[in-house]
């Protein structure tokens, strides 16, 4: 029994890290641009479809899919940033509507090209086996995914806290006008953040396709879970996003196994508690 829970908890870590990779992009875009990118799930789905198209079992194909996915995401994110630029001075409603419109167009495009059925995206053959874990057979790919995503999370944390672009990024998140006044090219920082955010989403799509594969509706599922992660984790914070993603991953796996009826309420409860606590800490909106 305890082993079942342990194995499910590992599943939860994998799912949580998948959510983190997508949500990190969302929180980056929100922090720097003050835009809620409602087309973020569509970017994830683009990556998942790239994995379906390019993965043929070999590690090399898989690497090609990863590179193609990241490129598409970076280009898509930069294009999205350019599309948001003329809307910035008209307010949040216009930006939300534009990203929603892009999400609708993308959803229609995906079903037109790939049909309405879920598609398989198998992990590369060298990683498709399974290992013994306390009497259970556990897929190697998920363990590999955990390793890769953990490295990605560490790299992201290091880049944001220890590098010069990270400093520029944090300055822009903290106070855009002041950052611009000190000579930071905030426009360039914004475009870079959009590109990196988009690239993270599609990379997560390629990596995560064997876990949460390409199918219509996955874009909304991913968007909603990432949004909850960002709201719980706090906007623009990589550490908070990681903690929230791992927690949501555990609730969605171990929580569902332990208390199938209470799990969705647990997530709601955590969200409300976090909002209430933050409301007490927050300064009144001015």
């Amino acid at each position: 029994m305890a082993v079942t829970y342990a194995v499910t908890a590992v599943d939860g870590v994998a799912f949580g890290l998948l959510l983190f990779t997508v949500a990190a992009g969302l929180t980056l875009i929100f922090g720097v641009m003050d835009v809620l990118n409602l087309a973020h799930g569509s970017l994830y789905l683009a990556g998942a479809y790239v994995a379906y198209l390019l993965s043929r079992g070999g590690l090399l194909d898989w690497a090609a899919a990863l590179a193609a996915g990241a490129l598409i995401g970076v280009a898509g994110g930069a294009a999205l940033g350019a599309a948001m630029r003329p809307l910035a001075r008209f307010g949040h409603l216009e930006q939300a509507l534009a990203t929603l419109g892009i999400a609708y167009l993308a959803a229609d495009g995906y079903t037109s090209v790939f049909g309405g059925a879920p598609l398989p995206a198998d992990p590369p053959t060298p990683l498709s086996g399974s290992v013994h874990m306390g009497g259970f057979r556990y897929p190697v790919y998920r363990l590999g995914f955990i390793a890769v995503a953990a490295v990605l999370a560490l790299a992201l944390h290091w880049a944001v806290t220890r590098t010069r672009p990270g400093v520029l990024l944090r300055a822009t998140v903290a106070d855009r006008a002041m950052a611009a006044a000190t000579g930071i090219g905030t426009g360039r920082v914004q475009t870079a953040a959009m590109a990196v955010g988009g690239g993270l989403a599609t990379t997560a799509g390629v990596l995560g396709a064997p876990l949460l594969g390409p199918a219509p509706g996955v874009d909304t599922t991913v968007l909603v879970l990432c949004l909850i992660v960002v709201v719980i984790g706090g906007a623009g914070s990589i550490g908070g996003t990681l903690a929230a993603a791992l927690m949501v991953g555990q609730v969605q796996t171990v929580g569902v196994l332990a208390a199938p009826t209470a799990a969705p309420f647990a997530l709601f409860g955590v969200l409300l508690v976090v909002l209430a606590v933050r409301a007490r800490l927050a300064v009144r909106p001015t």
Partner: protein, 332 residues
Amino acid sequence: MSGAAVTSRPATPASDQTAAPRVARRGGILVALAVLTAVALPFGVDAYTISLASTAIVLATLAVSTQLLTGVAGLPSLGQAAYLGVGAYTAALLGTTATTNALAQLVAGTLAGTVAAALCAPLVLQTRGTAFLMVSFAVAEMARTVASKWTDVTGGDEGLHLPPVTIWPATAPLRGDGYLYLYLLACFLLLAGTVALLMHSRLVLVLRGAGDHEPRLRALGHRVTGSLFAGYAIAGGLAGAAGAMLSAAHRYVSPADLGLETSALALLAAAIGAGSMRGAVAGAVMVVAVRDLLGAETGGHALALLGLVFLLVAYRRPATAWIREHTSRRPR
């Protein structure tokens, strides 16, 4: 900058005051024509169009609720579907267990929506702008998850079926599409009349002011927090009423009814209306027409068509501003 705006204001009303009655009269005639067309509709069109019109009425009610927050108070809400869901499930549970009385269901749905919104308001109203958009969306998605998992009460993903509503205790249940449509129209006109009165109230003035420049209004000593709370609760009540209408119209409620699409389309309708209530209603009719009438002609690409409408509405103001900037220079 805002000081200049205030001092330049008195210059404009001189021309506005002569134009205002004429514009108001023309608007009144348009509304009367729209109501007459809506009442006459079931006598002239087929059952499918009537069911679409019923859908449009429910969406219009939700759009009015969304407009009160988005267009009036400046809080872009992507979560009004949550309170629609609360109202719809309340009405449906009442219909299956207690009474099929339409008015009782409408009142119960409205009250439930108001109470749910009032409970969430202290948390949701801590945020503004994009953060408000995010939090309202998150709360709505949580409501949808609860609706799909709380199987004992909501029937889970299978949803709840309810018997047809009755207008008066002893009368026959409303089964015909035409009668049901007229009932929904009556509910909508009642709510629209209430909102029209509300729009002339002091509360809405404060909400508008808060949407334009909240710190200024606070500095002037207005009770912004309380007003926003009241506005949010009223919007929740309107959404709850829309939910009760939805459950009466479909005789069925499921978690799919309170998904992202419902909130998104209501927000789109409100944005088409650009701050006005009549515009939001017209926007809701337009959205349903684009999705279900025009969309049916595109061979399964209704989503792309909606996506284009979203983009058109989003870029309407930047595009007109750009055109104005580039045309006004030439005469000089």
